[in-house]
């Protein structure tokens, strides 16, 4: 019941908007979307307390089941997704989406949210693939159709297609991996697969499966060097699209690693984990350096996402409970921080008609103090300032790499930890660079500048931004509730894989 309340409103709302309410004014569409998102959020709160389960046959001949459940690993992500969908819908209020009808815009947002929520709750391997694919078309529409009106149509199309084809390539690997997994083990139930922890598979089979599954997820995360779809997608997507992309879609990749790869083929994952860790830290450094020279503010935030997701993957590959916890916490932290940053940066870009760091107006603190404050909090969290939400995930992730599991090559992981720590310093560098350029700086005389004088945030939008700032501060001061939610299930997952997989 609660699961239906979580999943059905975004689906029905999205379909309704796309098919029935075409051509209705933006205000009504926004209200319908907000209602659906609010109901879904109520559902999210209910499932996180009740932890219900649905399991019925769907396509018996393929062994496909309609199987949904909720556990501690998924709860923070479900709450994040549902809450951010509502915030994004509210934040888009009063903005006439360029390039298409408001109904399509809100419908695509709701369907993306539905796909993500389904991914986080589904407990069937093939069902996971289907849910994973559900977000494709709506997100593609958001990027290609409602993208930045300053970018030429060709750029938008290219960004949207790049997003689509990269993701589909990942999904194709994932599909082969999942079908192979189901064929070899004879079950598609993810709980059973996690409980068996690959005990019926040979080491070679586990490695093959791990490579296929991780390759599929890595594109979504995205891991260096397959991250190249992300910056164009972000810089052209509308604000709502960027927020959903960064805060929700990328999490589907890491969640997939935690749910489908690590517990199901622990041996295979352990074998490839060192490579994964190296790719992750290369991504951290690579993205950090890119951020130091990137001039487009939206692309900069996008690259910083690559770095943050690098920390998450580093934590996952360490094979320790701390690492997993750090990764799951880092997921949430990145979701909130990048969500806030994209909201602020997106709005500033549409006011300034540019996001070029060299030509934006300076002294945001004077022009629009509230935006300025939000930007400072966002970038402070992004650089991992203690007391803000970004800190825990990254520090714990580096710590977990330093004290990696016994099955991992400790020397290599310690090097990775050191390099990742350097990446944190880079994050401080680029964050302060942005703040110096945009927030500090001398207010240039507005005469002669083509830019509009920036209006400050107010009303509902200010409430949305303030809520996210509050989440960043609260998460930084009180990380315990989130860590406690995920803790038990992470521990269970790791013991299952160590007992069944025969690891120490």
């Amino acid at each position: 019941m609660a699961l239906s309340l979580l999943l059905v409103p975004p689906l029905i709302g999205g379909v309704l908007l796309l098919l029935v309410l075409r051509g209705t004014p933006a205000r009504l569409c926004g209200a319908v979307a907000a209602l659906a998102a609010a109901l879904s959020l109520v559902g999210a709160v209910l499932v996180s307390t009740g932890r219900p389960r649905i399991d019925t046959a769907w396509v018996p001949s393929l062994g496909l089941r309609w199987s949904f459940a909720v556990d501690g690993i998924a709860i923070p992500l479900i709450l994040l997704t549902a809450a951010l969908t509502l915030l994004v819908v509210l934040h888009s209020r009063g903005v006439e989406p360029p390039g298409g009808t408001p109904a399509t815009f809100y419908g695509a947002i709701l369907l993306t949210s539905f796909g993500a929520l389904a991914t986080f709750t589904v407990r069937d391997a093939i069902g996971f693939y289907i849910a994973f694919e559900l977000v494709l078309v709506p997100m593609w529409v958001l990027i290609g159709r409602f993208g930045d009106e300053h970018a030429p149509a060709a750029v938008r199309t290219d960004a949207a297609n790049r997003f689509l084809l990269f993701t589909v390539t990942g999904s194709a690997f994932l599909l082969v991996g999942l079908i192979l997994l189901v064929t070899l083990t004879g079950t598609s139930n993810l709980d059973q697969l996690a409980a068996a922890a690959g005990s019926s598979l040979s080491h070679g089979q586990q490695v093959l499966l791990a490579v296929l599954l991780v390759a599929g997820m890595a594109i979504k995360v995205p891991l260096w060097p397959v991250h190249t779809w992300l910056p164009p997608a972000h810089s052209t997507a509308p604000t709502a699209g960027s927020v959903l992309l960064a805060a929700i879609l990328l999490k589907m990749g890491t969640y997939g690693l935690v749910r489908v790869a690590i517990p199901v083929v622990p041996d295979g994952f352990a074998t490839i984990a060192p490579y994964l860790a190296v790719l992750a830290v290369v991504g951290i450094i690579w993205a950090g350096l890119a951020c130091l020279v990137e001039r487009d503010l939206k692309r900069l935030v996008a690259y910083s996402s690559v770095a943050h997701m690098g920390f998450v993957v580093l934590g996952l590959s360490s094979g320790t409970q701390t690492g997993m916890q750090a990764a799951l916490f880092g997921n949430i932290a990145h979701g909130v921080v990048s969500g806030l940053l994209f909201m602020v940066v997106g709005r500033l870009k549409s006011q300034w008609h540019t996001a070029d760091l060299e030509s934006v107006p300076r002294a945001l603190r004077e022009l629009s103090p509230r935006y300025g404050f939000a930007l400072v909090v966002g970038f402070a969290a992004a650089l991992g300032l203690p007391g803000l939400i970004g800190f825990w995930g990254e520090v714990l992730s580096v710590y977990s790499a330093w004290t990696a599991a016994a099955s991992r090559p400790s020397g290599l992981f310690q090097v990775c930890a050191v390099v990742a720590a350097i990446g944190m310093a880079l994050a401080a560098g680029y964050s302060l660079r942005v703040l110096r350029q945009v927030w500090a700086g001398e207010a240039a005389s507005t005469e002669g500048s083509a830019a509009d004088p920036a209006r400050d945030v107010s009303g509902v939008e200010w409430a949305v931004v303030a809520a996210m700032v509050a989440a960043i501060v609260l998460g930084g001061l009180l990380p315990a509730p989130v860590l406690a939610t995920t803790g038990d299930d992470v521990a269970r997952l790791l013991t299952a894989s160590s007992t069944a997989g025969g690891m120490p």
């Binding site: 393929l62 289907i130 290609g144 589909v168 082969v176």
Partner: protein
């Protein structure tokens, strides 16, 4: 020796063939009727669907047989319908029904003197396709397959235009080669097995000794080549784009749907019998399948004429249809049948939308066409203005949620991504036997083709979402009622089966 005949079981074959005769007789009595042949055809198709419907309703995995020879120790039946072949028959009849709906005469178009001939040929080909699915001896199998093919050649040639004739000539040439190969294969089969029956027993007996085994293997390879022509598997695909582009749209629809059913049915009959022989012809199936997929997708990526795009997409999809047959299990056969059903529903739906759009553009051809921005001179004669260029679909989703939505559903289903869940489930089913048999390399090549396929169909899908080209808005799309009905049936089927794929897969047990 007496042969038992159960006419109800044979109804699927007999009704369309009798219907074809009735159409001709009616044409003699009341000449130049426009609608009467269609009405007769619909009635005979409705009667025809009764037999496979009964076979499906009766039980899962059961076979209904007739034309049995009682003299053998165990009764041997020349015509038997399993649940898989019954589903194929239903799909064939449904495809013919939808193609006829698309051809339904809208006032000025069809020349009336050819209507009855056209309808008669469609019925005959449908009867052949239904027959192939049930035939279990080589002679009637080949005859049914040719009954399913020959009328199509005439159908393609019927408009008499240059494009139609060149399509028909290419189809005729390949059909002749295909018949030759099949006849040779049949002769070898007879020599190897000493029997005209296609059954596991006869195969097992002849596979026991070396020389006959070699002959049987060669015969199977020739069968595969012959059927490859019909299923348009690469490298036997060359006729497909020419024939599709030259034929009238309803006939191209028929060609992409019903004749593929006949070909797959033929392939399954052979593969089923060979399940006892092991992996002899299987490697060939794997090569043909992945070759067609790759070639079809790559060429489809470059097509701007949507009919040619659908033709090359058919070649790619034929690879998918044949893919599960690398495993001789019955689950693999079911997967192929499910894939084919999903493909036929989606492709026929796409064609229906094309017919609607072409009809719409036909009416505004003069005048507005000259204003299309970016249209080259070559396009103006028969390009954008004909509704067959990808550009003509620009903004279709906004002009008509009905047509645009239907096409979007069809394209996503062919690509195998949500919301076209039926196509996705079919692809999952098709991949499973491949991995179960341990064909890693094949699976990876297929995965690459999943991506290529998405690229192909999204090239078209993207246009649906785009803006109307400025200065060229033919207004809201409104299709002829019969075409609209075909789109509605196709969309409804695809939508319902996307939500509940089990309703399709459960039919096969």
């Amino acid at each position: 020796m007496s042969v038992s005949v159960d006419f109800v079981v044979l109804l699927g074959v007999l009704a369309p063939l009798v219907g074809a005769l009735v159409v001709l007789v009616a044409d003699v009595i009341w000449p130049r009727q426009q609608r009467l042949p269609y009405v007769l055809a619909f009635v005979s198709l409705l009667v025809a669907v009764w037999a496979p419907y009964q076979a499906l309703a009766q039980g899962r995995g059961d076979t209904t047989s007739t034309l049995c020879l009682p003299s053998q120790p165990t009764a041997v039946c020349l015509y038997s319908v399993s649940s898989a072949s019954a589903l194929l028959q239903v799909v064939a009849i449904l495809g013919a029904f939808l193609a006829l709906l698309l051809a339904w005469p809208s006032e000025e178009h069809t020349p009336a003197d050819r209507t009855s001939v056209m309808v008669m040929l469609v019925l005959a080909a449908t009867g052949g396709a239904v027959g192939v699915a049930g035939a279990h001896d080589i002679a009637s199998w080949i005859i049914a397959l040719e009954i399913a093919t020959v009328p199509i050649i005439v159908l393609v040639a019927l408009p008499g235009t240059k494009a139609a004739l060149s399509g028909a000539v290419q189809l005729l040439t390949t059909s002749l080669i295909s018949v030759g190969l099949l006849a040779l294969a049949a002769a070898m089969w007879f020599v190897a097995t000493g029997s005209l029956l296609i059954s596991a027993d006869t195969v097992l007996r002849s596979a026991a000794s070396g020389p006959t085994r070699a002959l049987l293997t060669l015969s199977v390879v020739l069968f595969l080549a012959g059927i490859g022509f019909k299923l348009s598997l690469a490298p036997f695909h060359a006729w497909t784009p020419t024939a599709y582009a030259g034929a009238p749209l309803p006939i191209a629809t028929f060609l992409s749907g019903v004749s593929k059913v006949a070909a797959l049915a033929a392939l399954i009959v052979i593969i089923q019998a060979l399940s006892s022989l092991g992996a002899a012809g299987v490697a060939a199936v794997a090569v043909l399948s992945v070759l067609s997929m790759t070639l079809g997708n790559l060429v489809a990526l470059r097509q701007n004429d949507v009919v040619r795009l659908l033709a090359w997409s058919t070649i790619a999809q034929a690879g998918w249809i044949a893919l599960p047959l690398v495993s001789p299990s019955s689950a693999a056969t079911r997967a192929a049948v499910v894939y084919l059903s999903a493909y036929v529903v989606a492709t026929v739906l796409a064609f229906s939308v094309v017919v609607a759009v072409v009809a719409r553009y036909g009416q505004v051809r003069s005048g507005a066409a000259a204003q299309i921005p970016g249209a080259g001179i070559a396009d103006l004669s028969g390009g954008l203005a004909s509704g067959r260029m990808i550009g003509s679909y620009s903004g279709l989703l906004r002009r008509s949620a009905f047509l645009g939505g239907g096409l979007a559903l069809a394209l996503t289903s062919l690509a195998g991504i949500p919301p076209g869940l039926l196509g996705l489930v079919a692809k999952v089913g098709a991949l499973r036997p491949v991995l179960a048999e341990g064909w890693w390399v094949l699976a990876v090549l297929v995965a690459v083709n999943v991506v290529l396929g998405v690229a192909v169909y999204f090239r078209w899908f993207r246009v649906l979402l785009a803006d109307d080209p400025a200065g060229f808005t033919p207004g809201p799309e409104r299709a002829h009622p019969s075409v609209a009905l075909a789109v509605a049936i196709g969309s409804a089927l695809l939508l319902v089966l996307s939500v509940m794929p089990a309703w399709l897969t459960n039919l096969l047990g």
